[in-house]
């Protein structure tokens, strides 16, 4: 069976506004198996979000190859869900219209799309809020809308870019548990980008550590904790602590490099 996602020797450069070239990723390779929940951790500015943009087809790589579901990525492909770091729900659509957007874009009739949307709104615990506009919801509720929005099309690949980083700690572990529940009921492969190692380990089967920019995969770790997990409690398990220490040893150096660089560019 082909891997769900495969990046081979991928490099991504951007033109900076001043005309220079900024290398976000250099020679990055990683493989995600079907149904696997992978986390990508690394210091700020290491190109984690760029990796997701490449997998989704929003950005083409400068060098290297990206395969998704066994096919090279040439543009935005079907079967991908993407949860953005910032709020990306449509402010002028109600909760119902937001969630129904995906099925409608895929050619479902307005009626059927709404029917399907109601079901997903209930699944993420927002029943009764169908007619609200996003500004009338709390941050956590908007994240639920975004989650329903990206899951309703039944994606085989789910890309998540620090989706819960703006939430308070309690809401966050609640959302993480719900995400695990919804993921277990699907067969999707997940790439979850975060800078929070605790979140990465408690959610995933595999953790990729990315080096300070230009990013490349430094190492990857299998997380052999049993499922189903309770995110709020798993961090007290001895095995969790072991894994954490192991990965942190690796990540620490990269964080230090990135911090030094920021200090220098701040001083310059």
């Amino acid at each position: 069976m082909a891997p769900a996602i495969e990046l081979r020797g991928v490099t991504k450069r951007f033109l900076t506004p001043s005309g220079g070239v900024y290398t976000a990723l250099r020679d990055l390779s990683l493989v995600v198996q079907p149904g696997e929940f992978c986390a990508v951790v690394g210091p700020t500015g290491c190109g984690k979000s760029t990796t997701l943009a490449l997998i989704s087809g929003l950005e083409p790589p400068s060098e290297g190859e990206v395969d998704v579901l066994g096919r090279p990525v040439t543009g935005i492909a079907d079967g991908i869900g993407y949860m953005f770091q910032s709020d990306a729900v449509f402010p002028w659509k109600t909760v119902l219209e937001n969630v129904a957007a995906g099925p409608r874009y895929h050619g479902l009739s307005n009626r059927d799309a709404r029917l399907k949307a109601r079901d997903w709104i209930a699944r993420v615990g927002l029943a009764g809020f169908e007619d609200r506009y996003p500004y009338q919801l709390s941050g956590g509720m908007r994240k639920r809308v975004a989650l329903a929005q990206s899951l309703i099309n039944g994606p085989r690949i789910l890309l998540m870019d620090e989706p819960f980083s703006a939430l308070d700690v309690q809401t966050r572990s609640l959302m993480e548990n719900e995400l695990l529940g919804l993921w277990a009921a699907s067969s999707a492969s997940v790439v979850f980008v975060t800078h929070d190692l605790e979140e990465a380990i408690s959610l995933s089967d595999r953790v990729f550590v990315i080096t300070a920019g230009p990013g490349t995969v430094k190492s990857n770790y299998k997380v052999d904790l049993q499922r189903p997990r309770n995110v709020a409690e798993i961090r007290f398990e001895p095995r969790f602590v072991e894994i954490y220490q192991e990965i942190w040893n690796d990540l620490r150096d990269e964080v230090a490099v990135s911090y030094e660089r920021q200090k220098r560019s701040g001083a310059a």
Binding site: Y82, F84, A88, F90, W92, K93, A101, Y133, S150
Partner: protein
């Protein structure tokens, strides 16, 4: 946390040491009413002070009412116009004529502005090619074009509509264009990931997003349409408020000029109210402006 529980929390009577228990919701409604009364009262007071001092200074002869008119005589003038008609015919004909020109120019100009703004905002090549022409055209004092229209389109409604439309067009165009350019890239990316095609992207993401910019420009442009219609009438017309003001000026009738201005201001105010109503209808999704409350 939901809205209901927040409301429940707020309406719980609070007791503080040395302070009576008050119903905060009632207190706030009471404050809002009082503020509303204060605002209305101050508005009336402003009018009384302004018109009163004008009336007084002209009556005392400190200011020559031949040049600066007098509120009471302006009122009389309006009354005469309404009851006996103007030198150009019944007053309502003048009002309707100017309204037709203004609304026509407003509609034509803003539709063209919206369509062109969105088209150029979405198409990089088109906007790069046309931008020097548009910027150049925008630099011309456009009121002057009214003279050209008077020659080429004649002295009937067409030349006034065209003058009003060209004034409106540029304001709406630049706002629509900017609105399209300012669309949140995350929202576009999200829509594309969800499967939106180009047409859906335009109608469901780009246009709603640009709408707050466009509507903001409509507030200004109705006033501009009125300017266009009146200027068009000054270049030659047989009816309309601009023509009425022009003929009053020719008769050295300052009261008539001011009376015409008062009518124009009234039209602009009514239009502003209608546009605000339209705005509230179209942009229901925007959070209401935060009202300052003291608790």
């Amino acid at each position: 946390m939901n809205v209901r529980s927040a409301a429940a929390r707020l309406s719980v009577p609070v007791s503080a040491p040395g302070r009576p228990v008050v119903d905060l919701a009632a207190q706030r409604a009471h404050d809002a009413r009082r503020r509303q009364l204060t605002v209305q009262g101050l508005r009336v007071l402003t009018a009384v002070v302004w018109l009163g001092s004008w009336e007084l200074t002209t009556r005392l002869g400190w200011v020559d009412k031949f040049f600066f008119a007098q509120p009471s005589e302006i009122a009389v003038k309006l009354w005469v116009w309404t009851t006996q008609g103007t030198e150009l015919g019944p007053l309502w004909v003048q009002v309707v004529t100017t309204m037709e020109e203004t609304v026509g120019g407003f509609v034509v100009g803003s539709l063209l502005g919206i369509v062109m703004g969105i088209a150029l905002g979405r198409n990089r090549l088109l906007s790069d090619v046309l931008s020097p022409y548009i910027k150049g055209a925008n630099a011309i004092p456009r009121v002057v074009v009214g003279a050209l229209f008077a020659i080429s389109l004649g002295l009937d409604i067409k030349s006034k509509v065209a003058t009003a439309a060209i004034l409106v067009f540029f304001v709406v165009f630049f706002n629509a264009f900017q609105g399209v350019r300012e669309v949140d890239r995350n929202l576009v990316a999200n829509a594309r990931i969800l499967g939106a095609g180009n047409r859906q992207l335009t109608t469901e993401i780009i246009i709603p997003s640009a709408l707050s910019w466009i509507i903001a420009s409509l507030h200004i442009s109705f006033g501009l349409a009125l300017v266009g219609a009146v200027v068009g009438e000054l270049f030659g017309a047989t009816a309309g408020l601009g023509e009425l003001i022009y003929s009053a000026k020719n008769n050295f009738d300052a009261d008539g000029v001011f009376a015409g201005m008062a009518l124009l201001a009234a039209i602009a105010l009514v239009a502003e109210i209608l546009i605000t109503a339209l705005e509230n209808r179209l942009i229901r999704w925007r959070p209401p402006v935060a009202v300052e409350t003291r608790i």
